[in-house]
Symmetry: C2
Subunit: 393 residues, 2 copies
């Protein structure tokens, strides 16, 4: 058996395992250090009681004949799809175009299977590594990086982009924390329309948008329903990183160039290689989108937004250049001319703070590190103190 | 955007959607019919209280700071991997070689990504459609079918099989309900050893084996740890079809021909395109593998085994030729010279019983239908009565 040649194209280590390995090394040398982890963007706040109760209630029901359920529809339970359509999309998206998943990352993998290896793709640089790595695993060869920096307002210069099949676009962006404006997204949709591109819009951080003028979904842009797929997630919306729940919207109007339905192939793919998200997680998702669930999760998002604000203030107070952190849970801090792994190591060793080196998100991240605002308040305040004092407290 | 050419190779409809469409049509013509569904192999018995309590308890803990957890290891929580190693494999498999998944079907999809499109594969004919369909979606072209029928004891004639990269092998088999003997599996492992093949052994129905002489895992066979991957599932083991939990064993000793580790690539793939099974489902899995959990699920398996026995008796009493149903929850009934969709339609219209037409599992199923023994006892008894009376009661 020969190795699948696509694996040769991957860099030896994926970002987070490398960070973990550096952390372990640090701990081996500083066994008593109080390390604060603002690296991986992982939620830390408990899920609201009303949601936990729904999960628990359904679990107990599963032990009764009346409440037991086996395989559900691969596309997700009807109630949840309807709730996503109404709560997230104000019923401008039909429940039939919503496919419930076990998370955005998993659906990205399946989307890459859907489109196969012959496609050309474009990704924001920097961006979430899964767009490129998943495509490489699938055998995709034509990968274009669209630089996003303060110089272009973190929005790709589309006039420089050749015709391309798929455009991965994440807004609010991970890692830059910058959200695209309405006119920028209009420009993106117009590009896709005139180049027959499909946009894969990653909206995992949409509910962190505070500015009411910024779109939370690509489908707020006219014409997007013919050129875009949107991936959504309960992970950051509701603290479901471990529970695993997300969705993908593939509009009925999205077609291949021969007029055939992309959604039909997606349905075929997911019913062949997927068996639906956990029924317990789906009941939790329904509870999230009830009125009290929505109120509770809004408080948690607000809490993380405050975290971001505290971090931003601290970093700026000592003269750092900070992007993001207002409409997103990430702060993107620039260290001009420096290597991001060196800066990462510096923050690890000097402040005992774990960040994410920008290089992990592509060459466009070379002189940046990312701070995640997901964290316990105590840790965020201690980070602020350490940074302001320029030493470990 | 062009359609991925791999999708052209799929038959227009996947088996179960087609069955559902025929059911809907039947109901439209017989709105008051009492249809018994023994088609899809979906569990019907509630999960034991001790397992439901564990799911519920963990859900509630998720609403506390102490009990909350976010992203877990993609490979699954340590406790669950250790319990699978000890309960299922008597510690002959290391926990480090066990990867927890959201189900066998999903991991089959990921295994197909792992090996890519250049491999040649062999599958039992008849077999679970996902082996072939998932491979076609991935672009695999070299697909060999290994006929399995009463004439060869439902075990492929390996002396006729050319050198092949991957061999999908399911035992106890879906759909035939036949389990391979130790000497048959020894022959299979020997074939893989001398042809540098990798066996993907699907053990989803292992706990239905009643005969103590039949192996429940490919790893009971000497040498398998160098030539086999095993896929396991909590779906039929513990009624987790909706909760979603499974595992894949990739032994450290399994290598590509250049000596590199297959497990290392699998780890890379799953940490790139997967985020672990739901943490709630994983806690449920731990409870399944506790002593009381194991006792309870053994009772449920026994219940389905009795169902199978009742169905087998009824079908044989009216002269049908029945295979399987002893060491598996499926009965494979032969109708020599007949077309399986016709037989399916006959059982639907005459007895109001939904089965699965054998043709859905490959040409080797052409003159068979499959009965699933998953079902409420009342339905199984009514099926028995209908078949014996040769009419709807």
């Amino acid at each position: 058996m020969k190795r699948n040649p696509n694996f040769e194209k991957l860099t030896p280590k994926y970002l987070f395992p490398e960070i973990n390995s550096r952390k372990r090394k640090f701990f081996a040398n500083h066994p008593s250090a109080s390390l604060i982890n603002l690296g991986v963007g992982d939620t830390t706040e408990p899920i609201p009681k009303c949601i936990a109760n729904a999960l628990s209630h359904f679990s107990i029901k599963m032990s009764t004949h009346e409440g037991y359920s086996g395989y559900g529809p691969e596309q997700g339970i009807k109630n949840l799809r309807e709730k996503i359509a109404s709560s997230i999309y104000s019923n401008k998206i039909a429940p039939e175009d919503i496919f419930v998943s076990d998370g955005a990352k998993c659906d990205l993998g399946r989307l890459q299977i859907l489109f196969g290896k012959e496609v050309s793709i474009a990704v924001q640089d920097p961006s979430y590594p899964v767009y490129i790595e998943g495509s490489l695993i699938q055998g995709v060869e034509k990968i274009l990086k669209m630089p996003c920096s303060p110089e272009n307002g973190f929005f790709p210069s589309l006039n420089l982009l050749p015709k391309v099949n798929l455009i991965y676009f994440c807004s609010p962006n991970n890692p830059t924390g910058m959200a695209a404006t309405r006119s920028q997204l209009e420009e993106l949709v117009a590009f896709a329309e005139s180049n027959q591109s499909v946009i894969i819009f990653d909206s995992a951080y949409a509910n962190f948008i505070q500015d009411p003028n910024l779109p939370k979904s690509i489908f707020e842009i006219k014409g997007a329903e013919k050129v875009a797929i949107e991936i959504g997630s309960f992970s950051k919306l509701a603290g479901f990183t471990g529970i695993r729940l997300g969705w993908t919207v593939i509009p009925e109007g999205l077609k291949y160039e021969d007029g055939r339905s992309i959604k039909a192939d997606w349905h075929r793919l997911t019913s062949t290689l997927f068996n639906g998200a956990s029924n317990i997680a789906q009941q939790g998702g329904c509870a999230v989108l009830e009125q009290d669930g929505l109120q509770e999760i809004a408080c948690i998002v607000k809490f993380y937004q405050e975290n971001a604000c505290i971090l931003k203030d601290a970093l700026e107070s000592v003269g750092h250049t900070v992007f993001g952190g207002i409409n997103a849970p990430y702060l993107w801090v620039r260290f001009k001319g420096q290597n991001s792994w060196d800066v990462f190591q510096h923050f690890l060793e000097k402040y005992h703070i774990v960040t994410t080196p920008g290089a992990g998100f592509g060459p466009g991240g070379d002189e940046y590190i990312r701070f995640s605002a997901f964290g316990r308040r105590e840790d965020i305040l201690n980070t602020s103190i350490r940074i302001k004092k320029a030493q470990v407290a």
